[in-house]
Amino acid sequence: MIEAGLKNELQKQGVYVTSLQELYNWGRANSVWPLTFGLACCAIEMMAASMARFDLARFGAEVFRPSPRQADLMIVAGTVTKKMAPLVVRLYNQMPEPKYVIAMGACAISGGPFKQGYNVLKGVDRYIPVDVAIPGCPPRPEALLHAIMTLQEKILNQKLTGPDRPRHLKAEVEGAYPVPVYGRHDLEPPNNPALWQPPAIKR
């Protein structure tokens, strides 16, 4: 690792030194392509964020890809119902690594105002790993921009080697998550035990 002082000194002389990890992360962080994946109300704010006033293109994230094969980022924008949850997981599995998830809005985080409904999944993090969560119902487009910036920060600081390297660089970790099926009463399994466990009740 090159130390910061030397790096600054060299930059003044017009010599730019970087590591492969930084270069790789810099490229990835500035071209996060989201999946065109609108579920409900938040999708309209997601579209507004990519339109004239808010202009998601400033962050290199305006290229909404209709196909999961070309996308890096899944913005879960809206209520995930039990009928839709298997498809969300399947789409996530179809995205190539490295991939990230933003849970946009109260519904994607926890079920939000519709939590008491019989058909609403109480948080998309029960099935897929969420990197950034944006509160709000719906969050403003500025909040989505902030989430993209938070995600960029996360990507920039990812180490490519060592024990805390990201999941896609660990050969022993499964790439795809099990897709839930709609059983007799509910989704089976009700959550992905590797990702989310119901909180233990202490009496």
């Binding site: 065109t36 994946f37 609108g38 579920l39 409900a40 109300c41 999708a43 309209i44 704010e45 579209m47 507004a48 339109m51 004239a52 006033r53 209709p66 999961p68 809206g78 209520t79 119902t81 009928k83 839709m84 498809l87 789409l91 519904c107 105002p113 519709f114 008491q116 409904g117 019989y118 058909n119 609403v120 119902c137 719906p138 403003r140």
Partner: protein
Amino acid sequence: MNTPSQQFEVKPKLDESGSPIGELLEISMGPHHPSTHGVFRMDVVLDGETVVKLKPVFGYLHRNHEKIGENISYLASMPYTDRLDYLCSMTNNWAYALTVEKLAGLAVPERAEYIRVIMAELTRLQNHTCLIGFFVQDMGALGTPMMYAFREREKILDLFESVSGARMMCNYMRFGGVRVDVSDEWLAETKKVVGDYGKFLDEFETFLTENEILLARTQFVGVMPKELAISASITGPMLRAAGVNYDLRKVDKYGIYSRFDFKVPVGEHGDIYDRYMVRVLEMRESIKILTRALADIPAGPVMDPKAKLRGFRPKAGEVYGRVEGPKGELGFYLISDGSPNPYRYRVRPPSFINLTILEDMCLGHKISDAVVILGSVDIVLGEVDR
């Protein structure tokens, strides 16, 4: 003479027994598809590229709106109505408030009626603008019309935000009035936005109305005959494009719409182009109503002093209230048993009922036209699945 049906009706080739010749291809479009406006699935059977069968599949956004509404108080349902048709929360609020006011016998002060009309017409403007952006995008005009549409929408959303605190989910109307009064500065700002809207529409129309591609893709495509529209209880711009002069603002004269002088644009052929044109003309009429309402708005209270929001218990009975939303007749049906919660809470969603004849409009057209036909129906899945 080339009547639309003679010129454009394409039927799959049939053998003696009446089944199509050649191999049929069944495609499941959606629920993750960029042109389905949310999570909506169409099971399409294709003969080559021609649609021979289309089955809409709903329910991917069923979030128990009606069941939740039966378990919470009347007032607590108001924010949920925002999330029905999330592009036009103000008209949803109005429909629900109107229904409960009918049930409880509440009066609405003069100023609140004017504010409601202003909000509803602003909602109509932004809904129609966005819709045209969306469905032109479905035809392949990626980006540009949407950019213009959303630029104008943001101006209206700013107005909503400054008065209600939220851009989309306004939760602004209450039983017997509106939540907060609007200021004089807000009215001046609205006048400015409304005054400029006509210019924007001129610009929008210069690009679109006589555009060769738009004409080729929309004229005589997805024709809905008048009789079918009436028998399938289609409402809103879809019905008027088919040539039926039916607008609840004229029929019911709810609120204070009888005071305004406006025309109801009516189409002739019932194709997509007529639906586009009816919406553009409706926006121009909305501007007229808005200009008049902004000039006439009186001073005074915005809430009925008799209205009691907390501990609200209407007398037992049942009621159906409806307004002309931007998508059609939006109705609420409530049964009260005298308790704080409604016994039955039912929404009559315009986009769901308008969607029921999707197959009739798509049969015989190409698969790429089915996408545009779906876009012209103007659906919002929050309302379709509830």
